[in-house]
Symmetry: C2
Subunit: 249 residues, 2 copies
Amino acid sequence: MTVKIAIANQKGGVGKTDLCVNLAASLSSFSFNTLLVDLDPQANATDYLTRNNPQSSTCDLLMKDEIKLEDITLKTDFPNLSLAPSSIGLSAAQVQLANEVNMQFRLKRKLKALDGFDYVFIDTPPSLGLLTVNALTACDQVIIPIQTHYFAMDGVTKLLDTVNTIKEDLNPNLSVKGIVLTMYDRRTSLSKEVEEKVRNAFRGKVFKTVIPINVKLAESPSHHQPIITYAPRSTGAKAYLNLAKEFVG
Amino acid sequence: MTVKIAIANQKGGVGKTDLCVNLAASLSSFSFNTLLVDLDPQANATDYLTRNNPQSSTCDLLMKDEIKLEDITLKTDFPNLSLAPSSIGLSAAQVQLANEVNMQFRLKRKLKALDGFDYVFIDTPPSLGLLTVNALTACDQVIIPIQTHYFAMDGVTKLLDTVNTIKEDLNPNLSVKGIVLTMYDRRTSLSKEVEEKVRNAFRGKVFKTVIPINVKLAESPSHHQPIITYAPRSTGAKAYLNLAKEFVG
Ligand SMILES: Nc1ncnc2c1ncn2[C@@H]1O[C@H](COP(=O)(O)OP(=O)(O)OP(=O)(O)O)[C@@H](O)[C@H]1O
Ligand SMILES: Nc1ncnc2c1ncn2[C@@H]1O[C@H](COP(=O)(O)OP(=O)(O)OP(=O)(O)O)[C@@H](O)[C@H]1O
Ligand SMILES: [Mg+2]
Ligand SMILES: [Mg+2]
């Protein structure tokens, strides 16, 4: 049974793409067959995993009835890791989606035949617009990265409200798998303070594994390799392998 | 003559709010009368400058014809610095705006009577949606913060295309005041590489002053004070004062 997971947080730059790519890659290194669906028009996850400019994308998947998931899915250089790439055309699709009767369900319709994938991860843009709503409607679980900075806590309540509304009206399967603390800087008291606040506010929902700030994580996208390939002995790689173990645990 | 400046970049978490608040505050410390307009539904700039929950906001300004700028503008604790606060209602306003004939000009209509302000800075959300389009249509200049990380370069061409389109059809006054490199980490070669790439790609358009990564900048929002008040001797405060000098220079 394929498990579908959305990575979402409308706050920008909190590590959604970093988490989506590196958690998916870590699970694929444990021999789970994993698909990454890039639903962000910025196409950062696509750029992270491939140097090529894909022919078709999730934009076609959402807007053209005849396009199926296998028509756009690419094999990556990394075993057991496939990619449904994004393109800049997706930002126009967001506006066009609003004219469709089934505007929230476009992605869900296309993620039905997932033979052979153990996990599907969906990267989303920094907003609670129709692209993120499509991801949350199509998924079974959502993981929320929270940067260990002051602003990061602000929007989480609104995000959880949106998740609850979607669960009630659009997708009864949806649950919050957990919160992951990202860009944790051991050298500053700020990270520790935010960690305590988040663990108290969302008791029992926060992964034990914390993703540290690590320059290798900032470098790996330019090498188009996930951290476990680019810098396997880095603190970033170790953290993601631990997170993957905790995720399947 | 009031100069109106939008801070924009659809990439999330690149330091838009940090730049908007701290550049505005630095200019107000030079005795320029400065207004900050928060057009981001996350209301991070509002949270940065005030502990109170404002009564009315830029949501009312955009959606209610009878509400004027002075009805929502607040004095802050910082001399010469006023705030037109945001609220979460602004995210719904973005959808409602799309039904208005003059959808791109709602903010411009309200920023006509700016008596006594030397500068108006507008903070925008991480998207090129109608809120950012309203900011770019109302402004004379746009400043683009670019984080010195790999993904940061990706979206700038699309942003510049949007600025050109708005300049041609909606706002002939609009020009790019410049690009500011943010979150610069002297310890890593990544920042240096991105800086060289950006300065070569946008020759002559990049401010000399670079904003360094500085934990005091990450801490100052939780104290609801701009960096020049919270930590006046920090590298962050010095950088913003230099940027402000370069900006007026
Ligand atoms: N733990 C980390 N250590 C160092 N750099 C990181 C870390 N996590 C992410 N980054 C870098 O920080 C930047 C922001 O991360 P990322 O792009 O993953 O955030 P995002 O939430 O996906 O952003 P957006 O809201 O634009 O989609 C990127 O340049 C990324 O490479
Ligand atoms: N130079 C810096 N040094 C350290 N921390 C910084 C710096 N600039 C910004 N930050 C912190 O990094 C985070 C992201 O910055 P900020 O919120 O200003 O970006 P943004 O582009 O406005 O994000 P969004 O896309 O969500 O609007 C914030 O927690 C902020 O306090
Ligand atoms: Mg992203
Ligand atoms: Mg912001």
